[in-house]
């Protein structure tokens, strides 16, 4: 029954209070689909890691229900945890152990019989095979990150949590990670990753969730969110102050600054109907002179602020495109 259901993880009314008053998670409801890549975005301290930790059993929820593949994570912890692999945010490794031993240890810890062939395959897929006898303390940060992924994959999990897997790694390794995620997705592994990098979510995620102040304020298909993120602004610094915006520009989203020296055009770069050259030709035809122009894209932080403000006005607290 459970293995055929559409959602592999169901979270209902999840709350986590640290100490007596710090609410790290506030009534989170979330369904994670089987085989999808879900990116959880949010600023530092938003509750991303707490949410992951609660699902994996590292943090005890204050209230709420979490099921994994139809099994309650507390009553059936052996089943649910054996399905999950976790790559933590911090580079936590046993410095004096070898790569081979630490990955083999993880497989055993998760209740799987020794399988050198599988460990070898995992190490080879992560370009760690030639480092298998190296002590972890001799590895670079990027290599340690790979070891953590290898440990998480050692017991053949069906769900993989990647908590900021590319934080502090170089561009090359980041792209390698994306490739690994793509390969795992092909094998049917459900992947949940947290990240600060919007381009990372754009590259590999099917859906995107945004968490802020312990609340899941948005869960959307990536493409729908991208169209929101695709909004850009063209700023024209005018040579002479403009009295008002000519009526011919009514189809354009234009704002004139109070000092009448800055004209801001907001547009959707992803829209097929959009044509910036048409706008610039029109500007020229109206003899509007400008001494400088630049474009600006809303930062992720700005988008978060907007989403938080939207969520505050929304009784359900969750914005969804579905």
């Amino acid at each position: 029954m459970s293995s055929s259901s559409k959602n592999i993880i169901k979270i209902q009314s999840l709350n986590k209070v640290y100490g007596s008053d710090f609410e790290a998670l506030k009534g989170v409801n979330l369904d994670i689909r089987r085989g999808e890549v879900l990116a959880l975005l949010g600023p530092n301290g938003a509750g991303k890691t707490t949410l992951i930790s609660a699902i994996c059993g590292i943090v005890r929820p204050s209230s709420g229900v979490i099921t994994v593949d139809g099994h309650d994570i507390q009553r059936n912890f052996r089943i649910t945890r054996s399905l999950i692999g976790l790559v933590p945010q911090e580079l936590t490794t046993d410095s004096f152990e070898t790569v081979w031993n630490t990955v083999s240890f993880s497989r055993g810890l998760f209740g799987k019989e020794p399988c050198p062939d599988h460990i070898e395959a995992v190490l080879r897929s992560l370009s760690l095979w030639d480092k298998k006898d190296n002590m972890l303390r001799t590895l670079s940060g990027g290599m340690k990150r790979r070891v953590l992924i290898a440990k998480a994959l050692s017991h053949e999990p069906r769900i993989l949590f990647l908590d900021e897997p590319t934080a502090g790694v170089d561009v090359s390794l980041r792209k390698d990670m994306w490739k690994i995620v793509e390969d795992l997705k092909t094998q049917g592994v459900t992947i949940i990753l947290t990240t600060h990098y919007i381009e990372e979510a754009e590259e590999i995620a099917d859906r995107i969730g945004v968490i802020n102040h312990g609340k899941l304020i948005l869960i959307e298909e990536k493409n729908a969110l991208m169209s929101k993120l695709g909004k850009k602004q063209l700023l024209l610094e005018l040579t002479k102050p403009l009295d008002n915006i000519p009526s011919e520009f009514q189809n354009f989203d234009l704002v004139l600054s109070e000092d009448q020296h800055l004209l801001t055009y907001t547009f959707d770069s992803a829209s097929e109907s959009h044509d910036i050259s048409e706008f610039l030709i029109k500007i020229q035809s109206h003899s509007i002179q400008y001494k400088d122009l630049r474009t600006k894209q809303s930062s992720l932080e700005e988008i978060f602020v907007t989403l938080v403000q939207e969520a505050e006005g929304d009784k359900e607290g969750v914005i969804t495109a579905e």
Binding site: T80, R81, P88, E90
Partner: protein, 253 residues
């Protein structure tokens, strides 16, 4: 039962012993030899016999007990403290392994290491004196139970400790003095009456006494009382560990 998980923890901990062979094996052998040179040869030559046993032989159970207690506590406390310190404990907390299986792995390894050490110390003692063990099975039972109960205690200590100082303070400032004052190197009959009464409040006295009885059939207290003490202490430790895992104390937020 997650038997592979228990074996993984056990093997991982035993591997740490192999990596630190000098610290784990050679150092206790050297220390024991020094005890025999100082107490056995230098001081012992001035003490003919204690309760019918040569002084060198008399201190053997005390030395074994000193090693058992300090090593059991150190091995188990470090075993669980280090993953907490390095952050790798996340893996154990997210694994499909029960509290008792975790304890089996860590405490099993710590106790095994301590028992191996106790045997090495006995072998070292055999170089200096003629060893006599009248009840070898009982001796092994005492060694095994003491190693297990104090490894459980060390496990609790490792969870409680949030820095390295706390980790060393109990073995150094509590266990070692209790062993030295618990009749390891003397019979309490050598003490004035008032100190004999005070010595009976030292729990380690019951352990040393019981182990010594298994060697020479001489003891400060009845051997069954000694066995009962270890049993009660083991149950107390298990109870505390059960509470720790139930509440998540210093493990699970």
């Amino acid at each position: 039962m997650n038997i592979y998980g228990v074996i993984a923890i056990f093997n991982y901990e035993m591997a740490r012993m192999k990596r630190t062979l000098i610290q784990s094996i050679v150092a206790p052998v050297v220390t024991t030899s020094l005890y025999f040179v100082v107490f056995g040869a230098a001081i012992g030559s001035r003490i003919q016999q204690v309760e019918g046993v040569s002084y060198g032989a008399f201190i053997v159970p005390g030395l074994v007990m000193l090693s058992l207690l300090t090593n059991s506590i150190s091995n188990a406390s470090f075993g669980i403290y280090f993953p907490k310190f390095s952050g790798t404990v996340y893996e154990m907390l997210s694994a499909p392994i029960s509290a008792m299986e975790v304890v089996l792995g860590y405490v099993g390894a710590a106790a095994t290491k301590s028992v191996i050490l106790a045997m090495i110390i006995l072998a070292t003692a055999g170089v200096f004196i003629e060893l006599e063990i009248r009840h070898p099975v009982l001796m092994l039972l005492f060694v095994f139970l003491t190693a297990t109960s104090f490894s459980l205690f060390g496990f609790i200590l490792g969870i409680w400790a949030d820095n390295f100082e706390k980790l060393s303070v109990v073995p150094t400032l509590l266990i070692t003095p209790l062993v030295f004052l618990g009749g390891s190197f003397y019979s309490t009959e050598m003490l004035p009456p008032i100190w004999q009464t005070i010595a009976l409040m030292n729990p380690v006295l019951y352990l040393v006494s019981g182990l010594r009885w298994s060697f020479y059939e001489i003891s400060e207290v009845n051997v069954l009382v000694s066995l009962s003490c270890i049993g009660v202490f083991t149950c107390l430790c298990l109870l505390v560990i059960a509470i720790i895992f139930r509440t998540g104390y210093r493990l699970r937020a």
